[in-house]
């Protein structure tokens, strides 16, 4: 089963072969986890979203026509499933300076000061920055979060975002432009 191609595994899984679908899960779960990590920060949330992605993929196996890669097809399901999960969740209200933890406030202070970044231990600093980023992203729309994380965070090309979401490339560009503005404005408010 481990040697079978994705297309062959899909064919077997459609026929009710559980072992084939289990192999699909094993093979593609790292990528699905990576996609879910763009939207959720806690491990249990990422795992729950990833499970939902595979369950949805199983019910939609018939729609995989084999024209593109299975990985691309699954990534699109993963992206849309996570977007829908976030859309149905309540968005956080605007983040204010008083909402920040002591570490987050310190991180902003040191990094706005410029060269003082070295004052913080690197690992701690990264975790705080990621935490702060997530809190700001929580105040934006799920679409904003996705384009910012992929394009500005991962350096993903616009085309990759378009493929993962099903949006047109120009739509991705417009969304990214607006998302950057909203993220910048949210941070400017925090900086005072």
């Amino acid at each position: 089963m481990g040697q079978a191609s994705d297309v062959e595994l899909v064919r077997l899984a459609r026929g009710g072969d559980e072992a084939a679908f289990s192999e699909i899960v094993r093979r593609h779960s790292p990528r699905v986890f990576r996609t879910a990590s763009r939207f959720f920060r806690r491990r249990e949330q990422v795992e729950e979203a990833s499970q939902e992605v595979f369950l949805k993929a199983f019910t939609e196996l018939e729609s995989f026509e084999g024209r593109g890669s299975f990985e691309g097809w699954l990534t699109r399901i993963a992206t849309n499933t996570c977007l829908n999960m976030l859309r149905s969740a309540k968005r956080r209200p605007e983040l204010t300076l008083s909402d920040l933890t002591e570490d987050e406030g310190a991180w902003l202070d040191t990094h706005t000061a410029g060269a003082a970044a070295e004052r913080h231990e690197r690992a701690v600093s990264s975790a705080v920055a990621a935490d702060l980023a997530d809190r700001v992203l929580d105040t934006l729309s799920p679409d904003d979060r996705l384009v910012l994380t992929m394009i500005d965070g991962e350096d993903a090309p616009v085309k990759e975002v378009a493929e993962a979401t099903g949006w047109t490339e120009s739509n991705v560009k417009v969304k990214a432009f607006r998302a950057r503005r909203r993220m910048r404005e949210a941070l400017e408010k925090l900086l005072g």
């Binding site: 559980e18 289990s22 899960v25 094993r26 986890f33 394009i151 965070g153 350096d155 993220m183």
Partner: protein, 163 residues
């Protein structure tokens, strides 16, 4: 004064894509414009934070595959029983009305003629009315009408009249 050209440069693409000339222009303008300097600072921090956030990854646990397959079996089982329940709900009213109709027809077929042939427990009204006065039919034997005289009363009335 805030320069929309500088702001547009900050929002057009990731900050890392600005070339040296563009970055120099942003910094030079920021040196004399507080609003644009603040916008640049926020954009720089945003890019830094997003990179740290994007670097965070989770790897699937060894049990993830088993968990998904268990959830898949559970969901399929739930869906099958749900489908049966839905089918029953849809057909239930029809099946119930058909069962009632069959029961009514059976009752009419088997119980109807038998009921007609069976001896009646009801009294024959004509015969009763010829044999007994209506008063006796209405009153129990131990009941006595208020207007009726007892045997002793009749005798005493006769003797009193004779005296």
């Amino acid at each position: 004064m805030r320069d929309e050209h500088i702001i547009e440069m900050l929002e057009r693409g990731p900050l890392s894509e600005l070339d040296e000339g563009e970055l120099a222009a942003v910094r030079a303008h920021g040196a004399r414009c507080e609003a644009c300097a603040r916008a640049y600072e926020a954009a720089r921090l945003s890019a830094l934070m997003l990179r740290e956030r994007a670097a965070e990854r989770f790897e699937p646990s060894p049990f993830f595959q088993t968990r998904v397959m268990a959830a898949l079996r559970e969901r399929r089982a739930g869906k099958e029983s749900w489908s049966l329940a839905r089918l029953w709900r849809a057909a239930g009213a029809l099946v119930s009305s058909m069962a009632l109709t069959v029961a009514a027809l059976a009752a009419l077929t088997f119980l109807g003629p038998a009921a007609a042939d069976a001896p009646s427990d009801a009294p024959d009204i004509a015969a009763v009315s010829e044999t007994y006065p209506a008063e006796e039919l209405l009153l129990q034997p131990d009941e006595v009408s208020e207007n009726e005289m007892t045997y002793e009363q009749v005798l005493s009335t006769i003797y009193e009249a004779g005296e």
